[in-house]
């Protein structure tokens, strides 16, 4: 699965999280570009990234920073 992420680094917060099937790769890439263009137009410097993992749960383990606060990061994962 593909995951489009908009992340506000300074605030440490996830702003947008969108999922795409593997068969929709082209749409996911287009959505990423459109989001970057929109944020650029608005002068918003958020991080925009497209990631892919077998499941959302896998993604949440390998890229915890996008989803968790510092306190949550320090807690054991279930």
């Amino acid at each position: 699965m593909l995951f489009l992420i908009e992340y506000d680094r300074g605030g440490g917060e996830l702003v947008l999280f969108e999922k795409f099937d593997e068969s929709n790769r082209r749409n996911a890439e287009e959505a990423r570009l459109e989001l970057e263009l929109r944020l650029n137009r608005l002068g918003i410097g958020h991080e925009v990234v497209l990631l892919e993992a077998a499941t959302e749960s896998d993604l949440r383990q390998t890229h915890r920073r996008y989803f968790e606060t510092l306190t949550e990061l320090s807690r054991p994962q279930s």
Partner: protein
């Protein structure tokens, strides 16, 4: 796109002057890595039976930051595309690195366990294929935990922390934890499969059992976060 055009694009990104046309051009450049990226990911998953989280394209903000931080050109960045693999311990990490070096003909191994980058420990294997570089990050679960916490500290306090600047207090804490992780993992490797008869000071001090040690590392992190009152909860 020629190499010169791409590097000129890099200069504009560095200056923070990206136009919509620049973003489209960067997008085209990043997408040109996809065939090789896909091949590398499939090889890792099929031959090594490892789970990966792929990043088909480095974010524009990360590219701009890197161009500003290091004196390199856009065409020289070696992690435009890549993936991350998390393994349980050092022994497994070494096995994966050896397998990757065997499977791919052209690799560069960057061992950040022996030469940590501001506390960051991991092994990066950079695969070269068809003139493109793909970076594979191999982290143990503890190295990964440290990296995630360090990144988050940098996000919510000061991005410079990741690069050895910013708050001395936070850097001291993170460096101390990085060294602790390294000591614990070294001892785990040394005494793999059997409890140590003569535990080193680190293992002894932390309780001796790998799982117990991990819990204690996590507790240390939690108390640090509370002490520095950095969370927004």
């Amino acid at each position: 796109m020629t190499k010169t055009q791409i590097d000129r694009l890099g200069e504009r990104l560095k200056m923070g002057q990206a136009t919509p046309e620049d973003l489209r051009m960067l997008d085209e450049f990043r997408r040109s890595f996809f065939p090789v990226y896909e091949k590398v990911i499939l090889t890792i998953e099929e031959q090594l039976k490892l789970k990966t989280t792929g990043r088909p394209a480095k974010s524009t903000t990360s590219i701009s930051d890197k161009l500003n931080r290091e004196s390199i050109r856009l065409t020289q960045i070696q992690d435009i595309t890549g993936c991350r693999v998390i393994v349980s311990n050092i022994s497994e990490q070494e096995k994966v690195v050896a397998e990757l070096s065997r499977i791919f003909p052209k690799v560069t191994v960057i061992d950040r366990r022996t030469t940590p980058s501001n506390g960051y420990r991991a092994v990066h294997v950079v695969v070269e294929s068809q003139g493109r570089l793909i970076e594979i990050q191999i982290r143990t679960s503890l190295q990964h935990l440290w990296a995630e916490v360090s990144e988050k500290f940098a996000d919510v306090t000061d991005p410079a922390i990741k690069y050895g600047k910013g708050s001395q207090e936070v850097r001291t804490v993170l460096n101390g934890m990085s060294e602790l992780v390294a000591s614990v993992e070294l001892d785990e490797q040394r005494f793999e499969g059997a409890p140590p008869k003569n535990p080193s000071s680190v293992l002894h001090g932390l309780g001796g059992e790998p799982e117990g040690i991990r819990e204690k590392v996590r507790k240390l992190l939690e108390s640090t976060i509370k002490r520095l009152a950095l969370d927004k909860e």
